[in-house]
Symmetry: C2
DNA sequence: TCTTGGTTTGTACTGTGAGTACAACATACG
DNA sequence: CGTATGTTGTACTCACAGTACAAACCAAGA
């Protein structure tokens, strides 16, 4: 069941828009069959039902993200620079595939309840960040924080929500321009914070 | 259909855990009837079906959040301080009601497709932040950023994902302690960022 | 060519669960 | 009382996921 012929795989993408629009519940198998051109019986021959369709589509998205982020993270730069690259990479892929992202948001619950997807979600989105923050402390390019786990989670949230929202706002004319714009905003926030220099000085005094 | 007797309302909360655990799809109306002690026929007398059950529960959660955040935001302090208070308030409510939060994550798609809920979500989570960031620029307690909309979205993501994850990790012994811990981490990130002082100086030079 | 084994597809079926209809009953309030 | 409003059980309908299965199709080799 894991190797789904390439032709069918590509046809299946025709269902992404549909699922994104109406949610998996609101989408009948018959609709998927019609939209993709794959007859219902064939779908069931290869896949274990509706969930498997979602699993296939989202699994692919998550792989792409994990891949792109993996490349961004693997460079020689310091962690801080790689973090910026990772943010850009993640947002890039997300904005390139808005309907998959919309499907992800729409069926997040189901996704987190499908064990393989839940794991892929973690690997694609969360783990690279967590890793990078730790490395940044080691190489001195990022600050040490009191609660690294919680902070990593927040950074993850900042990036991901920005990406998902952007994707949900309907597809843009120039995804990669949007990705740069959003990634600049996210990096600015995550690296520099929102405090004014004045209040920061006072605060740094407290902290150190 | 909007005034659901108090007694029934309180009974309905008995379904929250169930829905959080299995998702709305995985939960039969009969299960809800059994868990809450409200017979199926009565549920249908007051509510327009399953979705309405979710809508009721989440609507309540969102009202609580909007309320608590509203109070936090209404003080006389500067925007920066109120932002910290708002973060604490939001996380406080979320951690107080973990199963509602889990239900929200699990059926986020449905929630965003229910117009009233989608609006409530915006009001509860996003708008106060957006507002506060703007006020912070006016009163000088927060920095001006290049793309305020995108940054507000990220801040919103940072807070909300932290809260949701915490809620999903199963209920804690001391929700309010957890709320303080998480809110400290989120505020630290959002206000001060992760850059080291050294790289910050260099950066500030670029920006101003 | 014929055979064999996987794939493809149509059609017809089963089962489950949401939502509805309705009648009997309770309760309240004038 | 009796009329209105809520409560509940029971017995439906209906849509759709998933299954069964047989017929056709399409290699690829003997």
């Amino acid at each position: 069941m894991r190797k789904l012929p390439a032709k069918l795989a590509s046809q299946l993408y025709g269902a992404a828009e549909l699922i994104a629009e109406r949610g998996l519940d609101g989408t009948k198998i018959e609709d998927i069959a019609e939209a993709t051109g794959i007859p219902k019986a064939t779908i069931y021959y290869h896949l274990d039902g509706k969930n498997a369709v979602l699993e296939f589509l989202l699994g692919d998205l998550l792989d792409m993200i994990a891949g792109a982020v993996g490349v961004a993270v693997a460079s020689e730069e310091n962690a801080r620079t790689r973090l910026e690259a990772a943010v850009l990479a993640q947002l890039g892929v997300m904005l390139e595939h808005p309907s998959l992202c919309r499907a992800l948001v729409g069926d997040l619950g189901r996704a987190t309840r499908l064990p393989e997807l839940a794991a892929a979600l973690r690997t694609a989105f969360y783990e690279p960040i967590e890793q990078l923050l730790a490395e940044g402390v080691s190489d001195g390019s990022l600050r040490q924080v009191a609660d690294p786990g919680a902070v990593a989670l927040s950074v993850f949230g900042a990036i991901t929500v920005a990406g998902l929202s952007a994707a949900v706002e309907g597809p843009s004319a120039d995804p990669s321009a949007d990705a740069s714009r959003f990634s600049a905003a996210v990096s600015e926030l995550v690296l520099d914070g929102l405090a004014t220099p004045a209040s920061r000085v006072q605060r740094r005094g407290e902290a150190l």
